[in-house]
């Protein structure tokens, strides 16, 4: 499987594309239902960040590609928005998942900023590089790993 989806700079495309990726993954018959939800969630969160913070031009396109090989489903997402800073890139790719401290009380709970953490929780590996004036993310979902 190697499928490429090109989408316009339009946030309304996010549910359509994320559900398409979910359905493509379900066709592999390797993913458990819970894994399908994580894949959809990760795609939604990454596309939302790209559309909200990527400084895309009106006519920009975002390219989503899906591959499946050796029990690993890979979603590559590329956009020609502004490059991530080193700090932002690290936020996506380091192993640390920072969820809110609950002891501080309800008043201190954040109401945003969870997208990257959810992406990191949902996928097994994520990488980022800036190449050819394009942000290139790659998220891997490894179905050979035991579901925790």
């Amino acid at each position: 499987m190697n499928i490429k989806i090109t989408i316009a700079n339009d946030r309304n495309q996010i549910p359509i594309v994320s559900q398409t990726v979910r359905n493509l993954c379900s066709m592999t018959e390797s993913a458990e239902p819970a894994a399908l939800n994580k894949i959809e969630l990760a795609v939604v969160e990454l596309l939302t960040n790209i559309f909200d913070y990527g400084n895309l031009e009106v006519e920009s396109e975002v390219i989503v590609q899906c591959r499946f090989k050796d029990d690993v489903f890979t979603v590559d997402i590329a956009d020609n928005g502004k490059p991530l800073s080193a700090e932002q890139a690290q936020m996506y790719t380091d192993d640390e998942v920072c969820m809110p401290m609950l002891d501080a009380g309800i008043d201190f709970l954040p109401v945003n900023g969870w997208g990257v953490q959810l992406i990191k929780s949902a996928c097994d590996r994520i990488s980022y590089e800036r190449a050819d004036q394009t942000n290139q993310f790659s998220m891997e979902f490894d179905f050979s790993l035991e579901v925790s």
Partner: protein, 113 residues
């Protein structure tokens, strides 16, 4: 524009979103509607999530924002939450903040107790 069904019960207001995705496209409208309702009724709001099959971080943030804004009237509880939606609450530890009930009956019994 998103729509809701609502029922008034002893001690709480049941609000059932009539849409299936609580995401960044609807989160702001969802939040303002629920906060307005809670402040009008001055009751706990129970969100019946039976129609909602997908929640992202924006949707979760909207629910948390509603809970924070409605503490004086009882806050937010949830029922009929699917496994997929519950997972978002679990991954973010928000399952430790909210009362999440398997079904409406369990939720109603708890509120009556």
């Amino acid at each position: 524009m998103i729509s809701f069904e609502q029922e008034t019960h002893d001690g709480f207001l049941l609000v059932r979103p009539a849409f299936n995705r609580l995401d960044s496209l609807v989160a702001p409208e969802f939040r303002s509607h629920i906060v307005e309702l809670a402040q009008e009724q001055e009751k706990l709001v129970v969100l019946d999530m039976i129609n909602v099959s997908f929640v992202d971080s924006s949707g979760l943030g909207a629910v948390v924002g509603c809970h924070k804004s409605t503490q004086n009237s009882g806050g937010i509880a949830l029922c009929n939450v699917s496994d997929d939606v519950k997972e978002v609450f679990t991954l973010t530890h928000m399952d430790r903040i909210f009362d999440i009930h398997d079904d409406f009956e369990t939720c109603a019994q708890k509120q009556a107790a």
